[in-house]
């Protein structure tokens, strides 16, 4: 029998009843991000009445102790009103103690879930969130499979959410994907990259495909090149040991920047169904060739910040940061020139750059259009039109174009037409984790990375790393826009935007 009131469950993107099991429930991610996001969703009435959270971790504690710790996390990190949401959620939160390696712990988890499902009416739907260090994934995935917790049926789902990093290189990503695949089918897997949960990243698709005026110009006939910048003003902030293993190429470009690039460059999908969108995204990655080792030097720049003054205060260079080896070969800045070898983008370079200790925290996509074919205004040095998609801060879209300065002479000056989210839609954007958790509960995987996307991105990044083996990062002063060599990467007549 079909629920005669089911329309209410579909309206407003509210999730179906389910239990959420968080592995690594005592960790930072759970306290700072996941539970505050759940509290926010509950506050907004976006969680179902039949909903339970089961925390899974090694430490001994009671349900009530666990709830108290989470409440403190929500108070510190939750958005306005999240505390009320947590209060409404509180009695539906449970703690299950077990080590990640203990098979019996998973069997007991299964029994606990059945009891919770019966008591709270979560209907057997389960979402399993791996909020642990990647080293624990293997044991958890194997035990979930062995305990039958990864199995779903026609009337109940079982989904797993995996946090980035999805591997360290192509080989380790394939190994991780194989482990995930041994327990879950691909359509059960949600690889979370919180960057895709940002409203303005999602707006790339809306801007391109909900408007008629952009798409006819969205190709190499009209666009000279594209610059994608994700800059951070902070250094490694005590994460030196982690960053030593990653570097900005792995930490930012392999995931955030390449994901953004695919959204900018993809063909229109047949529909917004997740696999239709992801099919088009992965085609973009397929169209980017791996670099031969000798091509890497001319298409990339690798940098590392050195001691300098930021805000009037001297900050240490990367090599002086705690946890960083004095003979480190890790980059804190990377700029990459990529060519997408397809009909739309042939000959139009995409420049990606990301770094730490840059002058501002900013993320943006700058579409640089070609200059007019005929220079009618002879006394004016006309700048190219730039369509700018600002992801953060001050989210919005602006268009730079030339306009006549009032007066008897014909002088052209650049002006800017500006749209700001904050002005047009005063409403606070949902936190990226709220959006992505809700999507996973709804079974919408559009904003999650698919296995082939992850592996293709690693293929490209690995080819750069292979070429970098023989040279060290170039120094740039903390608080500057990166090594001078990055300017030459763009080629004649092009300059990096100063965000």
């Amino acid at each position: 029998m079909v629920n005669p009131l089911a329309e209410e469950l579909q309206r407003g993107r509210r999730a179906a009843p389910c239990s959420l099991v968080i592995f690594g429930a005592t960790g930072d991610l759970t306290h700072r991000k996941l539970v505050p996001a759940l509290a926010g969703l509950k506050r907004d009435g976006l969680l179902p009445a039949g909903f339970a959270v089961v925390g899974f971790a090694r430490r001994e504690k009671t349900d009530e102790q666990f709830r108290e710790e989470l409440a403190a996390g929500v108070a510190e990190h939750g958005r306005t009103g999240a505390g009320e949401g947590f209060d409404a959620l509180r009695e539906s939160i449970f703690y299950h103690r077990s080590s990640f390696e203990d098979g019996d712990g998973y069997a007991a988890l299964g029994r606990r879930l059945e009891a919770v499902e019966r008591e709270l009416g979560t209907t057997g739907n389960r979402m399993l969130y791996l909020a642990t260090p990647p080293s624990a994934y293997s044991g958890i995935l194997a035990n979930l499979r062995d305990a039958g917790l990864s199995q779903e049926s026609s009337d109940r789902f079982a989904r797993v959410v995996v946090e980035k990093p999805f591997g360290h290189d192509l080989e380790s990503a394939r190994a991780l994907n194989a482990q995930v695949g041994a327990a879950f089918a691909e359509d059960q897997v949600y690889r979370i990259d919180h960057y895709l949960g940002k409203e303005t990243v999602q707006n790339i698709l809306a801007m391109r495909f909900a408007n008629g005026i952009f798409e006819p110009l969205w190709n190499g006939n009209f666009i000279d090149h594209v610059q994608i910048t994700v800059a951070e003003s902070i250094g490694v902030e005590g994460r030196g040991a982690y960053f030593e293993e990653a570097g900005v190429l792995r930490d930012m470009i392999q995931n955030h920047l390449l994901q953004v690039l695919t959204l900018v460059a993809m063909e229109p999908p047949v529909s917004l169904a997740s696999n239709h969108v992801r099919d088009e995204k992965v085609k973009v990655l397929h169209a980017i060739r791996s670099f031969a080792p000798h091509e890497v030097a001319e298409n990339t720049v690798r940098g590392r910040y050195t001691k300098d003054f930021v805000g009037g205060v001297e900050v240490p260079g990367y090599l002086d940061e705690p946890g960083v080896s004095s003979d480190s070969n890790t980059e804190t800045y990377a700029a990459v020139r990529l060519e997408i070898h397809n009909w739309r983008w042939g000959g139009t370079p995409f420049f990606l750059r990301s770094g730490k200790r840059l002058p501002r925290r900013v993320s943006e996509i700058a579409i640089h259009f070609k200059r007019p074919p005929h220079h009618l205004f002879a006394n004016n040095d006309l700048s190219p039109n730039i369509l700018l998609l600002r992801i953060q801060p001050d989210e919005g879209i602006s268009l730079r174009f030339g306009s006549k300065v009032p007066g008897p002479d014909v002088n052209i000056r650049d002006v800017r037409m500006d749209f700001r989210y904050g002005s047009a839609f005063g409403r606070e954007s949902a936190d990226a984790y709220e959006r992505l958790l809700l999507d996973a509960m709804l079974g919408d995987s559009t904003l999650f990375a698919r296995r082939d996307e992850v592996e293709e991105a690693w293929r490209i990044v690995d080819s750069i790393h292979a070429g970098w083996r023989d040279f060290h990062p170039r120094g740039y002063g903390a608080g500057t826009w990166g090594p001078e060599q990055a300017d030459r990467l763009l080629g004649a007549g092009r300059v990096w935007r100063r965000p």
Partner: protein
């Protein structure tokens, strides 16, 4: 937010609005002042609802930067009077005019003059919304005259003193939207979730529902929304019952649904602002579930109603 006042001339409202912009730019000299209007909002109030509605409009630009044209129907007004203010908020280094608010006061007898005052000052290319924030007039033609220039009409049945507001469906080319429909959204949702736990038979056994409401009009209006919905969806035998208590309340007090052995009770826990749902099935009971009630202020509900795509509630 800062406020800029401008003198307004009833004979030249477009010119008055231009002056407001000029004065605001002068007041914010040195800052980059831009305009962010996404909506024309025509609001009709009376003496009883004017203050509350003014407070709603204060909060609205956070969600919908707009040109708000507030029409206060006041018998004491006598002749047409007008005030004009701009609300400016800082945004980064710049300033944004987030609301242009024009307040017209008119004797109800002057109503016929109002539509042609409003028409030329609606900003083009953005939606227009009429919010009838007062009692229903004797003649629905008044609403219709303003609704005809709007893309959407919103009412709040909690402000009505009579309960015959379904006649509103007759007006204009679009059915009005009642804010009560949003207030009962959590009720509809938890009821729909409860129906996931059993197999509902459309014919037998019969489904009976009792909805308790307080003496407050808002509570009755919300109960009526639920009644209308349950009759439509389930063909249920729905009874409304007034219970003791006349505290201001804009939601039902309790809902009890029976369908054979299935028994569902939704109780409004007013102090905690929660709905407690108890579901008894043939074989067992579920633990009580708690869901936040609608906690939106009237301004938030109005903002949400402007965003709603479908026309619901009174349709």
């Amino acid at each position: 937010m800062t406020t800029v006042h401008a003198t307004a001339d009833i004979a030249d409202l477009p010119g008055s609005l231009r002056r407001l912009w000029r004065d605001a730019a002068a007041a914010e000299q040195g800052c980059n002042l831009s305009r962010a209007l996404t909506l024309n909002l025509v609001v009709v109030t009376d003496e009883r609802s004017e203050a509350a509605t003014a407070a709603m409009l204060e909060a609205l630009p956070d969600r919908h930067p707009c040109r708000a044209i507030q029409i206060s129907l006041e018998e004491s007004a006598g002749i047409l009077e007008v005030d004009l203010v701009g609300r400016i908020r800082a945004h980064g280094q710049g300033r944004v005019m987030a609301m242009e608010r024009l307040h017209l006061r008119a004797d109800p007898e002057q109503f016929a003059k109002l539509p042609n005052l409003v028409r030329p000052i609606l900003v083009n290319d953005i939606p227009t919304c009429l919010f009838w924030a007062t009692e229903l007039p004797h003649s629905l033609g008044r609403i219709a005259a303003l609704a005809s220039m709007a893309d959407r009409t919103i009412v709040d049945s909690a402000l009505f003193t009579g309960d015959d507001w379904r006649s509103l469906r007759q007006i204009a080319h679009h059915a009005p939207f009642d804010l009560a429909w949003l207030r009962v959204a959590p009720w509809r949702r938890v009821l729909a979730e409860a129906f996931e736990h059993f197999a509902w038979e459309p014919e037998e056994p019969p489904t009976s529902v009792r909805i308790e409401h307080s003496a407050a009009m808002g509570s009755l209006g919300a109960a009526r929304c639920l009644e209308h919905w349950l009759v439509q969806k389930l063909g249920a035998d729905v009874r409304l019952a007034r219970v003791a208590g006349d505290a201001p309340c804009t939601e039902p007090v309790r809902l009890e649904l029976r369908h054979g052995p299935v028994h569902i009770v939704i109780q409004h826990l007013t102090e905690q602002a929660l709905l407690r749902t108890d579901v008894t099935l043939e074989s067992h009971c579920l633990l009580p579930a708690h869901t936040p009630t609608s906690r939106g202020s009237r301004a938030e509900l109005l903002a949400a109603a402007v965003d709603m795509r479908a026309t619901l509630g009174l349709s």
